[in-house]
Symmetry: D2
Subunit: 397 residues, 4 copies
């Protein structure tokens, strides 16, 4: 059994608690810190937590605590992490790690200097579909990965602090883009260096300073492209989709709005409210088991198995730092309108890669450009002459 | 922690073990019985089980065992249950409970006489989608339930004994129909009596005595209709879908082949084999987390929570008996070509219901037949005169 | 150019007119008959029809008319057909042909005695998807057809006469089942004799004498099974799906509610009304080109090409008669609760077929029951000994 | 009846001919020009064309020709258009109009100077789904349009000349991006000025000089964003999807790979070849009526109705020119890595727009940021104080 101190009692803290203490789990939250006493008490009551406090350090320092789980607004992550370092407590932090790479790097360096376990709670690289897809990618079923896109859009976050640029550190790029960047990076290869970013961002609808819609491209050293599409202005629920293209295959994942469950209701029968839906009548698309589908279960399993085994989890502060560095470049790009370099003072992956060019040979004189099946069942080839560069088509019987 | 004796080391036993000892579970298999020593040893090794045996009673009788999990061929369920009764061990049995209602009734009576915990492992009424859908149905979002269909078809079971009429007790009706009947019965209401069954069954393709394709209708006392479609001749993978119609809504669930994950692969890149798919190239539709999607996790959670709390689980031997009684009627109907009564010597639900007829009144003289929106945006009504029975249409602005 | 007299100016007459005079068609409605002068005038105006009348025979008899299109309530088909015979006018009739097979047979005999062109307007065997699927079935891509299901359910018809048993001749079985029966019959083979029918029908919701929900099975002489599911009580729009199972493949068609177009709207922006949808906010699923998707265009193309070529169209009164005979058996079965024989006094297809039993041989001693790919990539076989009947499993590397 | 001279007998010429002479059309190809005599003869034979030639001008100049249809490689469009001007023949040209805006502008000026009818054959803004979606957008169902994406990717074009940079003028940006740009521009408003473009392009896989993968953003004067995703390296068939986001709604269109028809085949039964699919076994997703679904029918209907009515069609050379200008900016951007201005020497839409900022007022002191339904059925608001800029959340019962 692992004993957890939870910092933060809001929406995400409760989601985490549901997963941590859910399906016959061995693990237990033993202390809850919230800035507001009322929230701390309520959380303690709802989740059967023995100790609550409005003093952060008190929760962290308790001797029975094995690991601290940070579910606080972005601007409070660093202070919380530093206290974990001080008390040498294992720590895991909700996403994004920092409001920017400078904060993230300080946290990374601090936990490593303190020698404590550090986990980065990027749940969307732990969803069952992602894990299955990743297995296929790693087995080579898609060939060389060319492009990986992740899209997360919805009508905006649930809590007030997200909308405040100071507390949040950014808008939908930071809030949602952190997911998308780590998803694409994972498909392309976490040891492949992200080199530059082009990003468009705008505040199209909401009365806020931060961006409410953004699209970005992340170029990797091996020529692969990551793409993120994020928005707080989407209408229709939570759109959470990934797409991957490789030389030998394709993967499409729909994590939320179309997962094989469809319901129509006139609304006459009941006040039923579908979670995260924007309406409660007509066609609705509930997700069966949200905690599992969003990756929380498999994420905490990895964290605790790693903690017990004395190894690093799949996602660490280092990953959180890389993500922050990519997002920083995105913010700079949105302003400068240029491709901005990703500034990675710490980089632990491969260096010096270039784009592979592996042409398929047809015969001694020609490359194969394309092979297809015609309407009438014959094989048709497009070939390119190696020397002249001329293209020709050829139909085989 | 709950300690389990597992009887049977085949395909389903391994599936159960993956779930039982999976996601940070507190529970542990402590003894494995298999008819073949080699299988018992292998299972013990793979799942870290301390004790293995080829003597069934030895596994059951061990003092540390809290509950026995029966994952044996259908013809061995009864003997195993009787041993559990003898040793007063809690027991849970894979589906179907018996090869027929006579066997099932003997098992039901035995466990109740012995006063032991009894669970019926009908995983498909524990899938996350089913649980969510059931919540909507119970909240009234679909109004009065009129029809509930469940379809399970695939290219045939994995093990030899399924194909042998003596060991299995039946073909796809027993193997797959047991799921479908309990699903439909749950949506319609487990306290509503199934009264008669019409079933078509045939051996269309396979060289077997049992049926490889069947379709059945189950009439309930309140006029609702359950429907099952089962086959071992389906091509394309595992088709597992439910549909429910109510007076105020509709639910469609796709549990397997279309759950929001799609992959295309040329097959050049790797020897990737998609589980339960019929091919490993082209478009494939993997399920992210099969154990969770098929209900195993939530099923065992209910079983163990119930065992610990000293209450009955959601699915008991009584439910298994009702399902067997419905399937017996289906088999009789397939032969007699008549609607056959469901013979329920034990019935613990409501009695004497009749079909409700609740017409909607439009005004003092008319019933409302239908209300619709026309192409040009007006409300159009179809009304029926209460006395003359004449129909008229009326367009409101 | 073909010149048409249209009988009937209601919902279906207008749908037909939209298709007949639609996409750069060469064909023209030259006379419109309606029982009500107001409707006739309005139709003539809307579609630029030169002549209108409230006398049916007047429309039919006009010399410029090449073909008569009957879009009248079911109880008026026969009289209209007889007038076409009298005036030796080519005729095409909306579905169902008659209210029962007796009417249908009289119409069939009359048009054949008169030697006039006769077309049966079963649009759903002319939808683009059906035509494509039928091509695959005929090319053998699905192997031997085992089962073909068609489902049509919606919240009830648009016009008052449909709800009146006397005028309509039946409820949703006649209104919707006629489509489903001809679809399944086409996949199975129009020369394969339908031999018996089992049908459940009930009036579950609506204040009417006719059935508002029914499910039926149609057994064909070669052992194949057709299935229809029809209802006027479905909530959620127009559900129009077909499924076909063959020994080598599967086809699933969704004609209406899920065709690749999805829209979410808050409804704030406009009074947009989606056609046939049950709501105008939330998630909506419009069909792009309803006339084409529902088969009207390809149906009239076949009718007119056939008329010009002096050949019979794909669907004739004979087909309409067969469908009526199957539905008559369904109605008898719903009352008798027995499998009722299809009484076909006129039958022009094959006779004396029996169910094929083509087992696959594995070796001299065994039949192949099933071949599958295991999780670990090996081929696994289920075999049956030809003499002993025993089953065994075998794993190949 | 309209009489057409067809220039070009390749893949696209045949597609056009199938549509032009398809479903009971009144229109007829009366002359076919091909560079190769064999192709011209074959086309004439297949489509019943009275006259064939290998002299382009001969086909154009024939007196019976009402309109010339250009289906030639991109580098031959301009010469063909000039001959139409010379002979004062109405002309319609396949997409893209030119290899670049300079060519396109010359063509535009020439046809306008000659006073001839000119149509731009952008079929994808005539698909049934696009037309339906456009109706919804224009009715306001989506509110203010914020973003419109179009994606077209497949495994590469069918004919050799596409792969040759000189003949084609570009790679997938020109070949596929022209569709995407006009689709997004239509949703956003054809009178809204595209102002600048950011584009990433690369040759990731194919042995060609042109790009085989590109992603671009097009900024419009009113702040809306168009996006195109194009590739010749996609595996899995033809991926053709559009997405539109507005302040009040969302539209998703899938034109090809998921349109409600699904087929599984083992391939044992037949040599069936699914069109444009990359395999002929396993799960396949045919489109019912390709000509209609891809917009050809509605496109030619608009062209000919316009020609007969003496009005301009929906898509003219002017539109083709605007598209070319946007694509030129994309090519410049892919090289310069900068947002490149769209150079529109001819612009006939609105000028001087700026991004609207219409905040929703909650009360005198606050703007409404977001309103949502909580899990427990209450309304929750996020508000922003107009003066202090502070955010607060508020739960209403």
């Amino acid at each position: 059994m692992i004993k957890i101190a939870m910092l933060g009692s809001g929406f995400i803290g409760r989601f985490y608690a549901d997963s941590l203490q859910g399906y016959r789990s061995r693990d237990k939250i033993v202390s809850i810190y919230s800035r507001r006493e009322e929230s701390a008490r309520k959380f303690a009551e709802d989740y059967g937590v023995a100790h609550w406090t409005t003093e952060m350090e008190e929760a962290i320092a308790r001797p029975e605590v094995d690991i601290v789980c940070i579910s606080l607004p972005n601007n409070l992550h660093e202070a919380a992490v530093m206290l974990c370092c001080k008390h040498k407590k294992a720590v895991m932090t909700t996403k994004p790690l920092g409001r920017n790479a400078t904060e993230a790097k300080r946290m990374l360096e601090a936990v490593e200097a303190a020698g404590i376990f550090n986990g980065y709670l990027e749940d969307l690289v732990y969803t069952p579909k992602f894990l299955k897809a990743m297995g296929s990618v790693q087995s080579g079923a898609l060939g060389r990965i060319l492009w990986a896109k992740s899209r997360e859009t919805h009508p905006g976050p649930h809590s007030d602090w997200f909308w405040d640029l100071e507390q949040a550190g950014g808008g939908c790029i930071l809030d949602l883009g952190c997911h998308c960047v780590e998803i694409a990076r994972s498909y392309i290869g976490k040891d492949i260096k992200p080199v530059e970013v082009m990003c468009w961002a705008d505040t199209q609808v909401k009365p806020i300073e931060a961006e409410d819609h953004a699209i970005g491209l992340v170029k990797y050293e091996n020529g692969a492209i990551g793409q993120f599409e994020v928005s707080w202005t989407f209408r229709g629920g939570l759109d959470l989709r990934d797409e991957v293209m490789g030389t030998e295959g394709t993967i499409w994942i729909n994590n939320f709005l179309r997962t094989g469950m469809e319901m129509f209701t006139t609304g006459k029968g009941a006040d039923y409210v579908a979670e995260k839906a924007e309406s409660n009548t007509g066609w609705l698309f509930p997700v069966g088991d949200e905690l599992n589908e969003l990756g929380y279960n498999h994420m905490f399993m990895d964290m605790f198995d790693a903690l017990e085994a004395g190894r690093a989890p799949k996602e660490t502060f280092y990953d959180g730092y890389v993500v922050n560095a990519v997002l920083d470049a995105a913010y700079r790009s949105a302003k400068s309108k240029l491709w901005e370099p990703v500034q990675l003072e710490v980089w632990r992956g491969q260096e010096g890669l270039s784009k592979p060019s592996q042409y398929t040979e047809w015969d001694a004189d020609h490359y194969l450009v394309k092979e297809e099946m015609t309407h009438y069942g014959a094989r048709k080839l497009i070939l390119k002459h190696k020397v002249s560069g001329e293209f020709l088509q050829k139909v085989l019987d």
